[in-house]
C-alpha cells in the first residue's frame, strides 16, 4: 500500500513526551516519511550551528535499519557504557493492518456498500495512525540522542545525520539475529551468575535500591502495557461493531414506513455517532496511555541494561583485585595486574557516577512524562464523557 505522509511532524515530541530541554544547538526532526511496499523512508532534517557540520541545515533519507545500526553502534561503544542508551525504535509493522485491508478487499457479499466504505475508512485511519506512531518513535529516538550532552557528540551520529548517501547498512540477516538473541540470553545468565553465585556485595545503597526498583518496575510496566493494549484493542473492536449495526438498522428503516422508519433511521444515526466517539476514545487511550507505557517499558529495559553493565564492571573490578592479590603473592606480573586493576577500578567508578546521574534523570523524565500524559488522558476522557453525555439526553 502506497501512502505518503506529507506534511511536517509537529515540532514537539509527540505522545511519548520525553522532556527535551536542552540547547538548541542541535535540532533534529523527521520532516517527512514515505511508506513503500516493504519499508519506510524517513527524511531526517537537522538544524545545527555546531562547527562540526558543514551546513546550517541539511537533510538525509534514512531507513529503519540505519536507525538500528546507529543504536547498536552506541551500545557497543565502551565509552557509553555508563549511560542509558535511548531504546531503539520498533520496526514499522503494517502487517496486521495490511492483512485486514486485504481481507476486506476480498469482499464479503453480505456487507452493503456503505458498510464497506466505512470499514475501509476505519482501516485506513488505523493504518495512518500506525504510520504516525512509527514516525514519532523514530523521531524521539533521534531527539533524545541529540539532547544528551555526551551522546550527541558521537561520530557515528554525525555520520548518520549528515552523510548524504546510503549508509549501506543491511538489515540483520538471520544469523545475526540469532546471534543477537543468544547474546541476550548470555547476558541475562551472566547477570544472574554475578549476583547470586559470586556473592557480590553492592557497596552503594543507592544502586541496590535502584536495582530492585527497576526490576520490579520493569515487569509491572510490561504487564500494564500489555493489558492496556488489550483494553485498547477491545475498545476498537467495540467501535467497529457499531458499523454493521447501524447499517442493518438503516436498511430496516429504509424498508419500513411511518414511525418505525423514523425511529430506525434515528437509531442508526445514533449508533454512527456512538461509534465515532468510541473510536476516538480508543485511539486516545492508545496514544496517551499505552504508548507511554510501552516507551517506558523499553526505557526501563535500557536502564536495566545500564545497571547490568555497571555490575559487570564491578565484577571485573573484583576479579582484577583478586588477580592482583594472586599476582602479588606469586610476585609475578604484578605490574600488569596492577594496571589492570586500576583500569577496572576507574571504569567502575566512572560507570557508577554516570549511572547515578542517568538514573536520576530517568526518574525525573519518567515522572514528568507520566504526569503530562495522564493529565492529557484525563482531560480527553472528560471531554468525551461530556460529549457522550449529550447523547444520553437525545431520544
Amino acid at each position: 500500500m502506497e501512502g505518503r505522509q506529507a506534511g511536517k511532524e509537529s515540532k514537539q515530541p509527540s505522545s511519548v513526551s520525553v522532556d527535551l530541554q536542552g540547547d538548541s544547538s542541535l535540532q533534529v526532526e523527521i520532516s517527512d516519511a514515505v511508506s513503500e511496499r516493504d519499508k519506510v523512508k524517513f527524511t531526517v532534517q537537522t538544524k545545527s550551528c555546531l562547527p562540526h557540520f558543514t551546513q546550517l541545515e541539511f537533510s538525509v533519507v534514512r531507513q529503519h535499519e540505519e536507525f538500528i545500526w546507529l543504536h547498536d553502534a552506541y551500545v557497543e561503544n565502551e565509552e557509553y557504557a555508563g549511560l542509558i542508551i535511548p531504546p531503539a525504535p520498533p520496526r514499522p509493522d503494517f502487517e496486521a493492518s495490511r492483512e485486514k485491508l486485504q481481507k476486506l478487499g476480498e469482499g464479503d457479499s453480505s456487507i452493503t456498500r456503505e458498510e464497506f466504505a466505512k470499514m475501509k475508512q476505519e482501516l485506513e485511519a488505523e493504518y495512518l495512525a500506525i504510520f504516525k506512531k512509527t514516525v514519532a518513535m523514530h523521531e524521539v529516538f533521534l531527539q533524545r540522542l541529540a539532547a544528551h550532552p555526551t551522546l550527541r557528540r558521537d561520530h557515528n551520529f554525525f555520520v548518520f545525520l549528515e552523510y548524504g548517501q546510503d549508509l549501506s547498512v543491511r538489515g540483520k540477516n538471520r544469523k545475526e539475529l540469532l546471534g543477537g538473541y543468544l547474546r541476550n540470553i548470555v547476558k541475562s545468565a551472566d547477570e544472574a551468575l554475578i549476583t547470586r553465585m559470586s556473592g557480590l556485595k553492592e557497596v552503594d545503597d543507592f544502586f541496590e535500591h535502584e536495582r530492585t526498583f527497576l526490576l520490579e518496575y520493569h515487569t509491572r510496566i510490561r504487564d500494564a502495557c500489555l493489558r492496556a493494549d488489550r483494553v485498547m484493542y477491545s475498545h476498537k473492536c467495540l467501535a467497529d461493531d457499531y458499523i454493521p449495526i447501524s447499517a442493518a438498522l438503516n436498511s430496516l428503516g429504509v424498508q419500513e414506513v411511518n414511525q418505525l422508519k423514523m425511529s430506525f433511521l434515528k437509531l442508526a444515526e445514533f449508533f454512527e455517532r456512538l461509534r465515532k466517539l468510541e473510536g476516538r476514545v480508543a485511539s486516545d487511550e492508545d496514544l496517551k496511555l499505552s504508548d507511554m507505557l510501552r516507551y517506558y517499558m523499553r526505557d526501563s529495559q535500557a536502564a536495566k541494561d545500564l545497571l547490568y553493565r555497571r555490575l559487570r564492571a564491578l565484577a571485573d573490578y573484583e576479579n582484577a583485585n583478586k588477580a592482583l592479590d594472586k599476582a602479588r603473592t606469586r610476585n609475578r606480573e604484578v605490574r600488569t595486574a596492577e594496571s589492570h586493576q586500576q583500569q577496572c577500578c576507574q571504569r567502575f567508578e566512572r560507570l557508577s557516577d554516570s549511572a547515578k546521574q542517568e538514573l536520576m534523570d530517568f526518574k525525573s523524565r519518567r515522572v514528568i512524562s507520566f504526569r503530562k500524559n495522564l493529565i492529557e488522558l484525563a482531560e480527553l476522557e472528560l471531554k468525551h464523557a461530556k460529549g457522550g453525555g449529550t447523547q444520553d439526553t437525545w431520544v
Binding site: R227, S234, Y242, A248, L252, Q259, L260, F270, F370, D392
Partner: protein, 495 residues
C-alpha cells in the same frame, strides 16, 4: 344504547377495510355515560377492551378535540357501523398514527356485549407521543407480571417456579387480581395448546421462549454464579413478554386454556413439552416433514397481497437476523472490554505501588481506581440495555418465524383444496364411466362419493378463504404490535 350497536355487521367489515385503516384513523366508539376520567392515560391499545369503564378515558391532551367528536360519532354509530373511511374523516386526529385494529374482533365478543350494557370496543389512537408517554405496558386492563423465580425441588428434578400475577378488570376473570405459580413447561404447554387450536386457522400465535438444556441444568445443579442468575432473569423477562403478547391478542384472550393457565392454582403437568419425550420427537419429525413439503408445494399465488407480504417478511427476517448477530457481537465485545479494563486497573495499581515517586504513585493508583469504577459502571449499564435489545430482536425473529408458519399453513390448506378438487374430478370421471357401463349400484356409490367430495371441495375452499382472511387481519395486527413493542426498548436503550 349498546344494544343498538349490536353486532356491527361484521360482514361488511371486509379485510380490505383494513388497508384503508392503515392511514391511522381514530375510531372512538364508547358510551358517553361511562366516561369517568380515568387516572392516567390509558396505554395505547390496538385491541378493543372488553370492559370499557376505565378504558374509555380521556385521550391525551393533544386530542381533547376528539371528545366532542365522540358524541357525534356515537350518534352516527347507531346508524352505520360499517367502517367506511369517509365516515371517519371528521374524527381524524391531527397526528398521523399507525393503523388501528378495526372492529373485526368484536364479532367474537358480540354475544358478550349483550350481556353487559356498557361495553363497547374502544380503540385508541396511537400517536407517537402516546407511545412514548405510556411506555409502561398497561394493556387495556389486563396486566401480567412474571416474577419471583424460585427454585423448587432438588437435583435433576428441580425446576424454577415463577409467579404469574394478573391484574385485570375484565369480567371474564373471576377476580380482579390473582396470582399463580407456574413452571416453564407449563408455559410451553400453553403454547402448544394454543398453537394446535389456532395456528391452522391462520392466527399468529406468539412463540414461547426456547428451552435451554444447558441453562436449566446449571440452575438445577445449583450453581450460584452470575451466569445462572442471568439466565433465570432472561427467562423470566422472556416469559413475561410472551404472556403479554399472548393476552394482547383478542382471540387468544378468549381462550379457556389461557384463562385456566392464568387462574387455576393447579395445572395438569404438560408432559409432552419435555425435550426428550415422545411428543418432542414426534414434533421434530413433523417439522422435518413440513420442511420437505414446503419445497414441493408450488402454489400459484393468486393474491398479490400475500406475495408481497411474504416477501416483506422474508426481508424483515433476514435483516433482523443480521442485526441480531451484530448486536450479539457487540454485547460480547463489551463484556471483553469490561474484563480487560478490570485487568488493566489491577496492573496499574501494582505499578503505582512500585513507583517510588510518591505523587506519581498516588496518581497511578487513583487512575487504577477510576478505571475500575468506569469499567463497572459504564459497561454494565450499556451492556444490560443491549442485552434487552438483543433479546427483543430474537423474540422478533421467532415471531416472524411464527408468521411464516402461518403462511405455510395457508399453503397447506390450499394444497388440500387442490387435492380435493382433483379427487372430485376423478370421482366425476368414474361416475361418467359407470353411467356408460350402466351399473346402477356402482353409480349410486359413485354419486355418493361425488357428493362427499364436492362437499370437501367446498369446505376446502371455504377454509382457504377463511384462512386468508384471518391471515390478513393478523398480519395487520402484527405490524401494529411491532411498532409499539419495538419503540419501547429503543427508548430505553438509547439512554
Amino acid at each position: 344504547m349498546a344494544a343498538e350497536r349490536e353486532p356491527p355487521p361484521l360482514g361488511d367489515a371486509k379485510p380490505t377495510d383494513f388497508e384503508e385503516l392503515e392511514d391511522g384513523e381514530d375510531l372512538f366508539t364508547s358510551t358517553v355515560s361511562t366516561l369517568e376520567s380515568s387516572p392516567s392515560s390509558p396505554e395505547p391499545a390496538s385491541l378493543p377492551a372488553e370492559d370499557v369503564s376505565t378504558n374509555s378515558n380521556g385521550p391525551k391532551p393533544a386530542e381533547v378535540v376528539l371528545d366532542d367528536d365522540r358524541e357525534d360519532l356515537f350518534a352516527e354509530a347507531t346508524e352505520e357501523v360499517s367502517l367506511d373511511s369517509p365516515e371517519r374523516e371528521p374524527i381524524l386526529s391531527s397526528e398521523p398514527s399507525p393503523a388501528v385494529t378495526p372492529v373485526t374482533p368484536t364479532t367474537l365478543i358480540a354475544p358478550r356485549i349483550e350481556s353487559k350494557s356498557m361495553s363497547a370496543p374502544v380503540i385508541f389512537d396511537r400517536s407517537r407521543e402516546e407511545i412514548e408517554e405510556e411506555a409502561n405496558g398497561d394493556v387495556f386492563d389486563i396486566e401480567i407480571g412474571v416474577s419471583d423465580p424460585e427454585k423448587v425441588g432438588d437435583g435433576m428434578n428441580a425446576y424454577m417456579a415463577y409467579r404469574v400475577t394478573t391484574k385485570t378488570s375484565l369480567s371474564m376473570f373471576s377476580k380482579s387480581e390473582f396470582s399463580v405459580k407456574r413452571r416453564f413447561s407449563d408455559f410451553l404447554g400453553l403454547h402448544s395448546k394454543l398453537a394446535s387450536k389456532y395456528l391452522h386457522v391462520g392466527y399468529i400465535v406468539p412463540p414461547a421462549p426456547e428451552k435451554s438444556i444447558v441453562g436449566m441444568t446449571k440452575v438445577k445443579v445449583g450453581k450460584e454464579d452470575s451466569s445462572s442468575t442471568e439466565f433465570v432473569e432472561k427467562r423470566r423477562a422472556a416469559l413475561e413478554r410472551y404472556l403479554q403478547r399472548t393476552v394482547k391478542h383478542p382471540t387468544l384472550l378468549q381462550d379457556p386454556d389461557l384463562r385456566q393457565f392464568l387462574e387455576s392454582s393447579e395445572l395438569p403437568r404438560a408432559v409432552n413439552t419435555q425435550a426428550l419425550s415422545g411428543a418432542g420427537i414426534l414434533r421434530m419429525v413433523n417439522k422435518a416433514a413440513d420442511a420437505v413439503n414446503k419445497m414441493t408445494i408450488k402454489m400459484n399465488e393468486s393474491d398479490a397481497w400475500f406475495e408481497e407480504k411474504q416477501q416483506q417478511f422474508e426481508n424483515l427476517d433476514q435483516q433482523l437476523r443480521k442485526l441480531h448477530a451484530s448486536v450479539e457481537a457487540l454485547v460480547c465485545h463489551r463484556k471483553e472490554l469490561s474484563a480487560n479494563t478490570a485487568a488493566f486497573a489491577k496492573s496499574a495499581a501494582m505499578l503505582g505501588n512500585s513507583e517510588d515517586h510518591t505523587a506519581l504513585s498516588r496518581a497511578l493508583s487513583q487512575l487504577a481506581e477510576v478505571e475500575e469504577k468506569i469499567d463497572q459502571l459504564h459497561q454494565e449499564q450499556a451492556f444490560a440495555d443491549f442485552y434487552m435489545f438483543s433479546e427483543l430482536l430474537s423474540d422478533y425473529i421467532r415471531l416472524i418465524a411464527a408468521v411464516k408458519g402461518v403462511f405455510d399453513h395457508r399453503m397447506k390448506c390450499w394444497q388440500k383444496w387442490e387435492d380435493a378438487q382433483i379427487t372430485l374430478l376423478k370421482k366425476r370421471e368414474t361416475e361418467a364411466k359407470m353411467m356408460v357401463a350402466n351399473k346402477p349400484d356402482k353409480i349410486q356409490q359413485a354419486k355418493n362419493e361425488i357428493r362427499e367430495w364436492e362437499a370437501k371441495v367446498q369446505q376446502g375452499e371455504r377454509d382457504f378463504e377463511q384462512i386468508s382472511k384471518t391471515i390478513r387481519k393478523e398480519v395487520g395486527r402484527f405490524e401494529l404490535i411491532k411498532y409499539w413493542e419495538a419503540f419501547l426498548p429503543e427508548a430505553k436503550a438509547i439512554a
